[in-house]
């Protein structure tokens, strides 16, 4: 089981203009995620959601504090689904799948399996430019799952897609997650999406601070059937707006 331990993490970027103020992307966050859970991080643009994932994946380094992702006593193996598919346009779909794997034929079989799971078994020899945006993103999802990561990072993977494609991909994601039960950190600014998919929702506020931490423990994952209560005790509707006090079906944490 992967464990994400974030301790008093801060990330400040240099001023974008000469003489300007430094940009605080993350301001003193502490967080612990453990187990095969689907955790969503929601918040407005610029609150440090993507920066947090970049630090966890080693793309960015923190300014202060620490962040570690472990599986037992070793560093965890990561998968990443980005906002856009980020496929190599000059390599075929199968070559893109194999780009992130180090094994040979066994890896190809596994890659083919995950492509099949997202309904793209017929695209192995095609180039990404031959696929629609939604299909490319499905390849991106299959690629991330195919490395069989201990922790899967997903950075607003459906934000560039139309509503129908996004819904279809959410279904694919739910199926894949149900089949694999990976630990997932899922960044989104869509509260409904977070509620539909998650076991736990962490709400970030501007300035990169944790505003709220919500645990959801009622299947199935449907926004209509899932009442929830925030850490602050505010009942939430699926739309993310506060509503009247709910029945005692949600769980409070901390």
């Amino acid at each position: 089981m992967a464990r994400v331990a974030i301790d008093r993490l801060s990330k400040t970027f240099p001023p974008p203009t000469k003489g300007g103020d430094p940009v605080v992307a993350i301001g003193d966050i502490s967080l612990d995620v453990e187990g095969n859970v689907f955790v969503s991080i929601v918040g407005p643009s610029g609150c440090g959601k993507s920066t947090l994932l970049n630090i966890l994946s080693g793309v960015e380094t923190p300014t202060r504090g620490s962040a570690s992702v472990t599986e037992g006593d070793r560093p965890a193996h990561l998968g990443y689904v980005f906002q856009d598919a980020r496929l190599l346009p000059w390599r075929t779909v199968m070559d893109n799948m194999m780009y992130v794997r180090d094994d040979g034929d066994a890896g190809a079989a596994k890659a083919a399996l995950y492509l099949d799971m997202v309904g793209l078994s017929h695209t192995h020899d095609m180039f990404p430019g031959q696929l629609s945006g939604g299909m490319q993103q499905r390849v991106g999802i299959a690629r991330a799952f195919s490395v069989e990561p201990d922790l899967l990072l997903m950075d607003e993977p459906f934000s560039h897609l139309d509503a129908i494609t996004a819904r279809s991909l959410r279904d694919h994601l739910q199926e894949l997650w149900s089949a694999t039960r990976k630990t997932v950190l899922f960044v989104t600014h869509d509260v409904v999406e977070a509620v539909q998919l998650s076991d736990r929702i962490i709400v970030l506020a501007p300035g990169g601070r944790i505003f709220d931490d919500i645990t959801i423990d009622l299947p199935p994952r449907s926004p209509r059937q899932k009442p929830l209560v925030s850490r602050r005790g505010w009942p939430l509707r699926a739309s993310g707006r506060r509503g009247p006090p709910p029945p005692s079906r949600g769980t409070r944490r901390r």
Binding site: N54, D84, L88, W90, R91, D95, V100, M126, G129, M135
Partner: protein, 290 residues
């Protein structure tokens, strides 16, 4: 109220056979060649010392077939051409490989850029004939002089183009590689090289042209054999048809390398760009027999 009928203009009739051929790329190229040869022939009427196209072709025929040039000397086309090609290939290999490595270094490291970028820019401004002089001074009349002239003259063109290409690699793809912990060699082979391919081809094109110029000059100054030496031989012998004939060989070789080798390599490297988006709905309809 009834709307007045709108007259739909008729589509223009496509041009006929000869006009269509003249408007095609092949037609335009053939026309340009014919105009050039015509202008060349006209020039011989104004300047009698300029050898005409037929005269030059006759010379090249004798030179290529190994016939006798009026009892003076026999044609030695293949011997000289092979020697030059050998030297050129070796020099281009050194210039290209070193340019590729230095270009990648400059493109990917700020320190290397600060250290090497200006030096490469200075080398870029050096004309090929300077290298031809310098290598002749350093190595004398040896095979190293033309080889190194090609290497020195071609190196900065490859390096500067590749450096620009590396800097232009999408950071998103680099982040993807980092996030998935892709190994360095794999990253280089599958991401860096294909991403920079366009810049590599541009650099290689310049390198071939500049290197070919360089070897002609170097062999002219210091050669005992080769295309440059043979061109000078005919120049010194006051046989301008020989001189122009070898210059034409020189130009035709470059054009053939560009058209036959580089264009094909480029088409192969960029075949992924030419793929059309697949209509999956159509495929599904075909599968269910609609």
């Amino acid at each position: 109220m009834t709307a007045a009928p709108v007259a739909i203009p008729e589509a223009p009739t496509p041009p006929g056979g000869v006009r269509r051929w003249l408007n095609s790329p092949v037609g335009a190229q053939v026309t340009a060649a014919v105009v050039f040869i015509g202008a060349w022939q006209l020039l011989t009427l104004i300047a009698p010392r300029v050898p005409g196209p037929i005269e030059v072709m006759q010379f090249l025929f004798v030179e290529i077939t190994g016939g006798s040039h009026g009892g003076i000397v026999r044609g030695q086309f293949f011997e000289h051409f092979a020697i030059t090609l050998q030297r050129f290939s070796l020099g281009l290999f050194f210039g290209f490989v070193s340019g590729l490595l230095v270009g990648i270094l400059i493109g990917s490291s700020t320190l290397a850029r600060a250290l090497l970028n200006d030096t490469v820019l200075v080398l870029l401004t050096m004309p090929a004939f300077v290298w031809a002089f310098l290598t002749t001074m350093w190595f004398g009349i040896t095979w190293q002089a033309p080889v190194l002239t090609v290497a020195f003259a071609s190196f900065p063109f490859v390096a500067i183009n590749v450096a620009q290409g590396v800097r232009a690699i999408a950071p998103e793809l680099r982040h993807m590689s980092t996030a998935f912990e892709v190994g360095r060699w794999k990253h280089f082979r599958h991401l860096t090289v294909p991403a920079v391919a366009g810049y590599i081809f541009a650099g290689l094109r310049f390198a071939i042209i500049i290197g070919w110029n360089g070897i002609l000059l170097s062999e002219w100054f210091s050669g005992q054999a080769g295309v440059g030496f043979r061109t000078r031989y005919w120049f010194d012998a006051n046989r301008y048809r020989g001189f122009v004939g070898w210059v034409i060989v020189f130009i035709v070789f470059i054009v053939l390398v560009d058209r036959v080798i580089l264009n094909r390599l480029q088409a192969r490297a960029f075949r992924w760009r030419d793929q059309k988006e697949v209509d999956f709905i159509e495929i599904q309809e075909q599968q269910v027999g609609l």
